[in-house]
C-alpha cells in the first residue's frame, strides 16, 4: 500500500469520527439541565425570548443541530455565550499561539530528551546511569503535572526566586520554563522508558550483530542501524502523547496563568458556555486526529513492513 492511499484511507475514517464527536458534544451539551443564560437575576420573559431567538435556541433541537453542523462544516463555531462580543473562533485564535508554543516546546523536548536518555540507559544497562534515569522516569510518570507544577513554582519561584511563579507577560523564555517542564516531564519519562526497552531489544538483533561484525564504529551502529528501529514504539506513542499534552496544557495554563485555549476551556466548562466548550473540543479533536494521521504516515515511512502488508 502506498503512502498516499494509506493517507486517503485514514482520512475517510477521520471524517465520520469527527462527525460522531460533533454530534455527541452537541447533544450532551443540550441535555444539560439549566441554560447558559440562567443568572441570579431573572430576566423579563420577552428579553429572554429575544436572547434565545438570537442564538436560535427557540427552534426545535433537531433544527438547532443542523444549523450548528452547517456552521461547523464552514469552520464557524458561533458566538461565545459568556464572553459577549467574541466568537468562539476569535477566542481560539487568541489562545492558540500560546498553547502551540507551550505544547510544541513540550513535545520537542520530550522527544529529544526522552530518546537520548533512554538510549543512554539502554547502552549502559544496569549501570548507575540506567538506574538514575529509570528512577527519575518513574517519578516523572507517577507524579502528575498538576502536583509537579505548583511544587516547582514553590521551589523555583518562591524559595529560590529564580523564575516567575506564574504569569505570562510576553511569553518570554523565563515565563515558559516552568510550564513547559511541568508539561513535558511525564512524556519525557515515558519516552525514555519506551526507548530503553526497545533499544535493548534491537541491540540483540542479528543485523546489529552483523554491523558489529563488519567492524563499524559504535556511534554509527547506534545512530544508523539501531536507532531507526528502536524509535518505532516512540513514534506510535506520539499520537497519545499529543492528546495527553493538549489535555495537560489545560491544567498547566490554569496554574501558570498562561492565556491559552485551555484556560478558556476551563472557564467555559465552569460557566456552561456551551458553544465555547463544544468549539474547543471539536478543535482539539481535529488537531489530535490530524496529528495521529501524520504519526501514522511517518511510521509507514520508517517501517517498511507497514507498507507492504
Amino acid at each position: 500500500m502506498s503512502i498516499a492511499s494509506l493517507a486517503i484511507r485514514r482520512l475517510f475514517t477521520a471524517v465520520p469520527t469527527l462527525f460522531i464527536i460533533i454530534t455527541a458534544a452537541f447533544f450532551m451539551m443540550r441535555a444539560a439541565p439549566g441554560g447558559p443564560f440562567d443568572s441570579e437575576r431573572a430576566l423579563l420573559p420577552e428579553i429572554e425570548a429575544n436572547i434565545k431567538a438570537a442564538y436560535d435556541l427557540d427552534k426545535p433541537l433537531v433544527d438547532q443541530y443542523f444549523i450548528y453542523l452547517k456552521r461547523v462544516v464552514r469552520g464557524d463555531f458561533g458566538p461565545s455565550y459568556k464572553f459577549k462580543d467574541f466568537t468562539v473562533n476569535e477566542l481560539i485564535a487568541t489562545g492558540f499561539p500560546t498553547s502551540l508554543k507551550l505544547g510544541g516546546a513540550a513535545i520537542i523536548l520530550a522527544l529529544a530528551l526522552g530518546v537520548s536518555l533512554g538510549t543512554a540507559a539502554a547502552l549502559r544497562q544496569n549501570s548507575l546511569t540506567d538506574h538514575v534515569v529509570m528512577t527519575a522516569a518513574m517519578t516523572g510518570i507517577a507524579v502528575p503535572n498538576f502536583v509537579m507544577a505548583p511544587l516547582m513554582a514553590l521551589i523555583f519561584g518562591i524559595y529560590l526566586k529564580v523564575l516567575p511563579v506564574a504569569g505570562w507577560e510576553e511569553g518570554t523564555i523565563k515565563d515558559m520554563v516552568l510550564p513547559v517542564i511541568a508539561l513535558t516531564l511525564p512524556y519525557t519519562a515515558y519516552i525514555a522508558r519506551l526507548t530503553r526497552g526497545s533499544m535493548i531489544e534491537v541491540l540483540h538483533t542479528n543485523y546489529v550483530r552483523t554491523a558489529r561484525a563488519k567492524g563499524l564504529p559504535e556511534r554509527r551502529i547506534i545512530l544508523r542501524h539501531a536507532l531507526p528501529a528502536a524509535i518505532l514504539p516512540v513514534v506510535s506513542f506520539l499520537g497519545p502523547a499529543t492528546a495527553g499534552i493538549i489535555t495537560g496544557s489545560v491544567v498547566i495554563e490554569q496554574i501558570f496563568q498562561a492565556p491559552g485555549i485551555g484556560r478558556y476551556f476551563v472557564q467555559g466548562a465552569l460557566n456552561r458556555d456551551y458553544t465555547l466548550v463544544m468549539g474547543v473540543v471539536i478543535f482539539y479533536a481535529a488537531l489530535i486526529m490530524l496529528f495521529n494521521l501524520i504519526v501514522d504516515l511517518v511510521y509507514a515511512l520508517l517501517d517498511p513492513r507497514v507498507r507492504y502488508k
Binding site: 450532551m28 444539560a32 518513574m138 507517577a142 493538549i246 490554569q254 466548562a269 466548550v277 479533536a285 489530535i288
Partner: protein, 290 residues
C-alpha cells in the same frame, strides 16, 4: 502414589506469582504503603480530634501543631488538614475501586465476545474501539461533569466507561491467541475435558494480563479524578478530594506551603505505590521472566 503426583504437580501459577511478588522489595513496600494509607483513611477520621468540615476561626491556616491536634495544620478557613486529606484519600480509593470495576466488567465482556466470536463481528467491534480511542476522552468526561452537575457517582461511571477500551483490547487479544496455543492442544491431546481446560489453562492465562492492567488502571483513575477536582470540575464542597486540596494549597503556597505539600505528597505516595505494585505484579505474572 497420589501424594507423589501432587508433589510433582507443584505450585500453581498464582502461588508462583505470589512468591515472586513477595521477593520484589519495591512491590512489598508499595503494598505496605497502600495498606497504611487505606487503613488510616478508614479509621483516621474517627480517631482524629477534629471533624473534616468544622471551621475553626481561631486557627486559620496555622502550621502543623500537635498541641491543638492539627497534625498537618489547617486550611484557609481553619479546617483540619489531616482529616481532610484522609477524606480525600477515601474519595480516591472509592473512585479507584468503582471505576476500575466498571472498566473491568465492560472490558472483559466486550473483549471476550470479540475474541471468541471472531470474524466480522470481531472486526466491527474492534473498529468501534479504534474510533473511540481517537476521541479526546478527558474532554468528554469534562462535558459530562458540566452537563450533569458534579455528581460523584456519575464521575465513577464516566471514568470507568473511559478506561475500558484498553482492557477490551487486551482481553480480546488474549482470548484469540489462547484458542490456538500448543499447551491447549497438549491438554486436549492428554484427554482433559473442556471445562478443565478453561479453568486450568484459559482463565489463569487470561487473568494474568487483566490483573496487571487493573493494577495499572487504578493509579490512572485516581489521577484523572484528582485532575478533574483540581480544575473544580470534580468533587464539591464540603466534601473534598486530593485534587481539590492540591488546588487550594497551590493558591496559598506562599503563606501556607504545608497546604500544598501534604496533599501533594499523599497523592504522589499513592500513585507511586500503585505504579510500583503494578510493575511488581506484571513481573510476577509474566511467564517470559521465568
Amino acid at each position: 502414589m497420589t501424594a507423589a503426583v501432587e508433589q510433582i504437580a507443584g505450585r500453581s501459577l498464582w502461588q508462583d506469582a505470589l512468591r515472586r511478588l513477595r521477593r520484589n522489595r519495591a512491590a512489598v513496600m508499595a503494598l505496605a504503603v497502600i495498606a497504611v494509607i487505606a487503613l488510616l483513611s478508614i479509621v483516621g477520621p474517627w480517631a482524629a480530634p477534629h471533624p473534616y468540615d468544622t471551621l475553626n476561626y481561631d486557627y486559620i491556616a496555622i502550621a502543623p501543631n500537635l498541641a491543638h491536634g492539627f497534625f498537618l495544620g489547617t486550611d484557609a478557613v481553619g479546617r483540619d488538614l489531616f482529616v481532610r486529606i484522609l477524606y480525600g484519600v477515601r474519595i480516591s480509593l472509592m473512585v479507584a475501586l468503582a471505576a476500575t470495576t466498571v472498566s473491568l466488567t465492560i472490558g472483559i465482556v466486550y473483549g471476550a465476545v470479540a475474541g471468541y466470536v471472531g470474524g466480522r463481528i470481531d472486526e466491527a467491534m474492534m473498529r468501534f474501539v479504534d474510533v473511540l480511542y481517537s476521541l479526546p476522552f478527558m474532554f468528554f468526561v469534562i462535558i459530562l461533569m458540566v452537563v450533569f452537575g458534579r455528581n460523584i457517582i456519575l464521575m465513577f461511571l464516566a471514568l470507568g466507561a473511559v478506561e475500558w477500551l484498553t482492557m477490551a483490547r487486551i482481553v480480546r487479544g488474549q482470548a484469540m491467541s489462547l484458542k490456538n496455543r500448543e499447551f491447549i492442544e497438549a491438554a486436549v491431546a492428554a484427554g482433559a475435558r473442556t471445562p478443565t481446560i478453561i479453568r486450568r489453562h484459559i482463565i489463569p492465562n487470561l487473568l494474568g494480563p487483566v490483573v496487571v492492567y487493573v493494577t495499572l488502571t487504578i493509579p490512572q483513575v485516581i489521577l484523572v479524578e484528582s485532575f478533574l477536582s483540581f480544575l473544580g470540575l470534580g468533587v464539591q464542597e464540603p466534601l473534598t478530594s486530593l485534587g481539590v486540596l492540591i488546588s487550594e494549597g497551590a493558591d496559598e503556597m506562599e503563606t501556607a506551603p504545608w497546604m500544598l505539600i501534604f496533599p501533594a505528597a499523599t497523592l504522589a505516595a499513592l500513585l507511586f505505590s500503585f505504579n510500583f505494585l503494578g510493575d511488581g505484579v506484571r513481573d510476577a505474572l509474566d511467564p517470559k521472566d521465568r
